[in-house]
């Protein structure tokens, strides 16, 4: 069934999306998107509310039938082999779906039952997963007594019960406190680094995407605007900004500085040079060398790296979104945030 356990390196695409579209009435929620995810990478979908992230995940997890296009997940076609897709992927939805009247461990076993995993396997495996998400002490407590962070971790454990090759995480840290968020990040890293799992996650939080994702796709109005590693995306908007103040306004060293290979652009204002460069740390060192070699004195240095926020705002615009988002998904998001904050 699952081929993760073979241990042989494989760089093949585990998800292939071709011209996928989904239309709800007049709304093109997802419009002709194509991308591939390589085995073993963490792939992030970034975008504002209503951009089409969850719709994309729902199509790839066979919850929604695409209007057009095609996709293969784990080597199976989402139209023709939906059940095989379901067997091979794990899904951690945005909502807290665990049953509050059941204990943590029974919730995981219920998920296992839905996959047809025999109890002889699901019982010990549930324990192992609870240990992974550090819930073993709360295993026999009803989920109704769990805090938001505990519930999020339980959802993660449920999503792993079927030994997935590919895990879908929809807004895994929505509304969580800093501690739980950091813990969830850690689990995600563990899954990738120790178990070589492929992960597809959506997020609102750009620092999260920057920290975790190997590649991100920025999606808005149902289109993929840009796709690439966080590093490449940041560099695409012009690289690092180095600001250097010197004691002596003359001579002007702009031409000398611009000869450095890493430097892209130099501006001079009185005593201050404003320099755009790749790999700012190394560029700065070289610039300072040049200034000093001319016998001048550096009085202040600052290095600013572009954040993914800037990339994102540049690509999706700064206008506030007040689009109509469907009622149910907003209800769920509010409920998720409320529950995440509930409890201790």
């Amino acid at each position: 069934m699952s081929a993760t356990q073979t241990g042989t390196p494989s760089f093949s695409a585990i998800v292939k999306v071709e011209k996928l579209s989904k239309t709800f009435g007049n709304l093109k929620a997802v419009d002709n998107i194509s991308f591939e995810i390589q085995e073993g990478e963490i792939f992030g979908l970034l975008g504002p509310n209503g951009a089409g992230k969850t719709t994309t995940i729902n199509m790839l997890t066979t919850l929604l039938k695409p209007t057009d296009g095609n996709a293969d997940v784990c080597g199976y076609n989402i139209f023709k082999q939906a059940n095989e897709v379901r067997r091979n992927v794990g899904v951690v939805p945005q909502e807290y779906t665990a049953d509050e009247d059941m204990t943590g461990i029974n919730n995981i076993i219920l998920c296992a039952d839905l996959y047809g995993i025999p109890k002889s396997d699901s019982k010990p495996h549930a324990q192992e997963l609870l240990k992974l998400v550090e819930l073993q002490d709360a295993a026999k407590k009803k989920v109704g007594t769990y805090s938001g962070g505990m519930r999020r971790r339980l959802e993660l454990a449920c999503g792993l019960i079927n030994y997935p090759r590919l895990l879908f995480l929809d807004e895994p840290t929505l509304g969580l406190d800093v501690q739980t968020r950091t813990a969830v990040w850690q689990y995600i890293k563990t899954l990738k680094e120790q178990y070589h799992m492929t992960l597809l996650m959506t997020t609102h939080y750009l620092e999260e995407a920057d920290l975790l994702c190997d590649r991100v796709a920025i999606i808005d109005h149902g289109h993929i605007i840009k796709i690439g590693s966080p590093q490449a995306l940041k560099e695409s908007i012009g690289g690092d900004v180095v600001e250097i103040e010197v004691k002596e306004p003359n001579p002007d060293l702009s031409t000398d500085i611009s000869r450095i290979a890493l430097v892209k652009n130099v501006q001079k204002n009185n005593n201050t040079y404003l320099i755009k460069a790749e790999q700012g740390e190394e560029a700065t060192a070289q610039i300072i060398d040049i200034i000093r070699s001319e016998g001048l004195h550096v009085t202040r240095v600052s290095l600013r790296k572009p954040t993914l926020d800037e990339v994102y705002l540049e690509l999706t615009g700064r206008t506030l979104r007040e689009e109509e988002v469907d009622k149910l998904s907003m209800f769920r998001q509010r409920a998720t945030i409320r529950r995440a904050r509930a409890g201790t």
Partner: protein, 311 residues
């Protein structure tokens, strides 16, 4: 905070597909193990899903208690106040004639026993009506999507909703029957086969009705609409049946409606089985109608689930 020490992996490159793959297996979460052989039968997960819903009910005695208030009120207050037997016996007609009148209308001389059988279908109807509600809440809170993302058969999700409701109906009907006996239902015709037959009737009617209400909820995430549907269907199904009043006293147009209402066949059957009433037709006809009702509506529910459970 996190006890899992990430392996400080210096060679971890952030470009796609370039990260190193071979590492020591970490068996602690079992994720590296070969997965077990899965049960791929179309019925897997059926009991797990059914029990999930039943558990909410049997671990919450208040819910069970509240659901029994209505039939008790009907039996104890309505059945005792509007008792046709007392009504006729206080009319001054000679007793022999009284019995003949009662028999010709109710098929039995005890209106209370007549109503008690009607209350069995009442409790089944009201229990089944809410079977759709749990679909709505599962959709609203995302559990439905989670179940749909697993290989569990779509029809199994619907069948579990139907079966949990049938399970509740059987237990609640049993309790209503006990209460009815305590309050004065005629037990002189009780036989083991009769009681068993009555529960088969409850099973079939519960199956058909909960299939109906479940399929009406397949697309809905809105509990207000669902409440409206319940109110729209519940009382007409009850009053346009012979649950409370006999067919004979109704106007002809209503009689025609009552004759197509499957609830009437359930009442007719339980009255023949439990209190030895003369029915309006053969028991076999009643059972044939109920079996067809249960089978057709369940089948339609499963077929609709393939199409409408996911969008």
């Amino acid at each position: 905070m996190s006890k899992i020490k990430p392996e400080q992996d210096s060679s971890l490159s952030s470009t796609a597909g370039q990260e190193k793959i071979v590492q020591a297996a970490q068996p602690d979460a079992g994720l590296m193990r070969t997965p077990p052989k899965e049960n791929t039968s179309p019925f897997h997960g059926l009991w797990a899903l059914t029990n999930r819903d039943l558990r909410k009910w049997y671990t919450n005695p208040i819910q069970l208690f509240v659901s029994l208030i209505q039939p008790v009120v009907w039996l104890g207050l309505f059945g005792k106040a509007l008792n046709f037997t007392t009504f006729i016996s206080s009319s001054g007609i000679p007793p022999a004639q009284q019995n003949a009148i009662l028999l010709s209308y109710f098929g039995t001389t005890s209106y209370f026993s007549f109503l008690s059988c009607g209350m069995l279908s009442f409790i089944v109807l009201f229990t089944s009506a809410f079977s759709g509600m749990s679909v709505v809440f599962d959709r609203r809170f995302g559990f439905l999507n989670k179940a749909l993302s697993t290989p569990v058969a779509r029809g199994t999700i619907v069948m579990a909703k139907i079966l949990q409701s049938v399970g509740r109906s059987l237990v609640q009907a049993g309790i209503v029957l006990i209460i009815a006996v305590v309050l004065g239902m005629d037990t002189s015709h009780f036989t083991a086969q009769g009681i068993f037959g009555a529960f088969v009737v409850v099973f079939l009617m519960g199956m058909g009705l909960s299939a109906l209400f479940t399929m009406l909820a397949l697309r809905s995430a809105d509990w207000q609409t669902q409440m409206a549907i319940i109110n729209l269907l519940n009382l007409p199904l009850l009053f346009a049946s012979n649950a409370l009043f006999p067919l004979k006293i109704m106007p002809t147009w209503l009689q025609d409606v009552v004759r197509v209402n499957p609830v009437s066949y359930a009442n007719d059957a339980t009255r023949q089985l439990l209190i030895g009433a003369t029915g309006w037709g053969s028991l076999w006809v009643d059972f044939a109608v109920l079996i067809a009702f249960a089978a057709i509506l369940s089948a339609v529910g499963i077929i609709l689930s393939w199409r409408f459970l996911s969008k």
